[in-house]
């Protein structure tokens, strides 16, 4: 296979161990995602199930830069990677997918509703566009704390998809964020499709940055397949948000390598809206492959070391599955618990 290597956009202020951590985090997400369809087919996981394969750079390049739990993260139902990046142990993620009491939401949320407030992760959201008005509120609370209660200059990072850009509530929230000037980093996970509907088939104005700017939020579009590009942009933008208190919009161009969800599982149905050639073309830009090649070229990791990392990561996923399977289901008398605090 032709070697694709990351272009270094900025100079090497990033430590070697940080690069390895980035690589490991992306691989952890990938290997966990690769394990879940089998668990679904074995009827151990139910409900909807959305994988993040191909989009790992969007969380790996951003979330480790945050000051969790003071900074806050919100995202969509495609949330396994976000939880891992926030530091939720793979065991708790997997246990939640299996609906176990040891899951990060006690088995009450499932794949779409991973959450970990003590780590600053305020959750995945099953409603397209849903997290954006919530982010407005979280951002307002952060500003309020800073201004009124002596809090620090913390930020909220809110992820959502290209399909969400067509939801009315997203634009109401953008307008209010632009109006009130809130410390929010909006990350548009533009993976080209909302289920089977391409961007071209869903909007008359595919310039998403323009739409953010229309609401008074500055922004730019970057390559989301290159984790170092993502990281450099994120660092610059996070610093800027902390300094100015004003929101920023990063459109990250990316691609999901598998189907939309378990119901669009990679085999026949995706050919209704995209071609295998297109998928293969994007796979050449696999963020993990790109960073792996970069690390090798720089002599930071050799293949043996990379294999060793992979083996550790696979072991972690296997352990998470074993932990989840050995965990009890939530007790039946918890059914009526947590309706209210």
């Amino acid at each position: 296979m032709a070697k694709t290597t990351v272009e270094r956009p900025a100079e090497d202020h990033i430590q070697q161990n940080e690069l390895i951590d980035l690589y490991r985090l992306m691989l952890r997400i990938r290997r966990l995602e690769e394990s879940v369809y089998r668990l679904f087919r074995d009827a151990k996981i139910g409900g909807y199930l959305h994988r993040y394969d191909g989009q790992e750079a969007l969380v790996a390049g951003v979330i480790p830069l945050l000051q969790l739990p003071h900074d806050k993260v919100l995202c969509t139902y495609r949330d396994h990677g976000h939880a891992l990046a926030c530091g939720t142990p793979a065991r708790e993620v997997m246990a939640e997918l299996l609906g176990r009491a040891t899951g990060c939401a006690g088995g009450k949320g499932g794949s779409m509703h991973l959450i970990d407030p003590p780590r600053g992760f305020l959750g995945g959201d099953g409603i397209v566009g849903g997290p954006v008005p919530i982010a407005l509120g979280v951002g307002y609370a952060l500003k309020y704390r800073a201004r009124m209660l002596g809090g620090g200059n913390h930020i909220c990072v809110c992820y959502f998809g290209d399909g969400a850009m067509n939801q009315g509530g997203v634009h109401e929230a953008f307008n209010m964020v632009g109006l009130y000037k809130l410390p929010i980093l909006f990350i548009l996970e533009n993976n080209q499709y909302a289920m089977g509907t391409s961007v071209a088939r869903s909007t008359g104005q595919p310039d998403f940055v323009l739409k953010a700017k229309a609401h008074g939020i500055d922004g730019e579009k970057i390559d989301g397949m290159n984790v170092l590009t993502v990281r450099d942009a994120a660092q610059r933008v996070i610093d800027r948000i902390r300094e100015t208190g004003e929101a920023y919009f990063l459109e990250m161009e990316c691609y999901r390598f598998v189907g939309h969800g378990i119901g669009d599982d990679n085999t026949k149905s995706w050919t209704t809206y995209r071609t295998e050639a297109e998928v293969n073309e994007w796979r050449k830009r696999d963020p993990i492959l790109q960073l792996g090649n970069y690390l090798q070229d720089r002599g930071i990791l050799d293949t043996t070391q990379m294999d060793a990392i992979d083996a550790e990561v696979r072991q972690e996923v296997a352990d998470a599955i074993a932990f989840a399977e050995a965990s009890p289901e939530p007790p039946l008398d918890s059914l009526y618990e947590n309706v209210f605090s």
């Binding site: 409603i127 979280v138 009124m148 209660l149 209010m176 209210f340 605090s341």
Partner: protein, 325 residues
Amino acid sequence: MATMRYQQAVRLALTEEMERDPTVFLCGEEIGQYQGTYRVTEGLLDRFGPMRVVDTPISEIGIAGMATGAAMAGLRPVAEFMTWSFALEAMDQLVNHAAKITYMSGGRIQCPVVFRGPAGVGTQLSAQHSQSLESWYAHTPGFKVVMPAFPADAKGLLKTAIRDPNPVVFMEHAGLYGLQGDVPDDPEFLVPFGVAAIRREGTDATLISYSRGVHLCLKAAEALARDGIECEVIDLRTLVPLDIETVLQSVRKTHRAVVVHEEWKNVGFGAELSARIHEHAFYDLDAPVERVAGADVPMPYAKNLERAAIPNDNDVIAAVKRTLS
């Protein structure tokens, strides 16, 4: 004790709670510079400043999300809907977010938010502005639903709502804003949720209502008393949690029940009350539970049609008489 209007009592609760707790803030349309569509928030912008009294654009989804997200991040927002009819815009943020986040997270996150504003029917506001939708929220697990009938309760219940760690739907009645009543000055005067008030004691029939319906019941009870029929009038105050015990105790004494509300009869809150009474006190009843409710039509504009669509005290009197015949 001071005498004040219902609307002033709401304002007093907001003011006291904002003085007490620096994490309480308000957001909504026209609540600040304009001083509130119904003047509920008059003077609060001057007193607390723009961070704590936030004028919003006409964006109900944004308002609901702002309040919900801020609550998830540890503040105690009180969001005003200009009227509850406009909250329909925000149904997803309310029902699928505010009401569910605590449960979905297995209790790992709290959502101490109050959504308040005027509800109720009348004054020829017609179909889109004149309706009562409390059952939509009472139906949804995760909301507490509060509908005060008197100024003192407006204050005491709103203070409890703001201190509650859960999403509270607080429906004021636009038609009661001018109602005068005695209101305790005590800044620790709290009215607990889930405790109904017996507004009038009686032995012949139990009238159960909330919000403005309570006043219809009291008027009807007074008229019936002149005919020697003594009605007990129960003001539920909160629909969720529901003080069904007080209702059942009364029904066991009077053997007759009439439920009264302004919202539509079909699948309205009265259906739930009636079902619960039948489930738990069937053998104590001397007559089927009667329901007095709004006509099942979008609210008409013309005065005569509107009058026919809104329940009044004569409807309550007729219903009581049916239970006695």
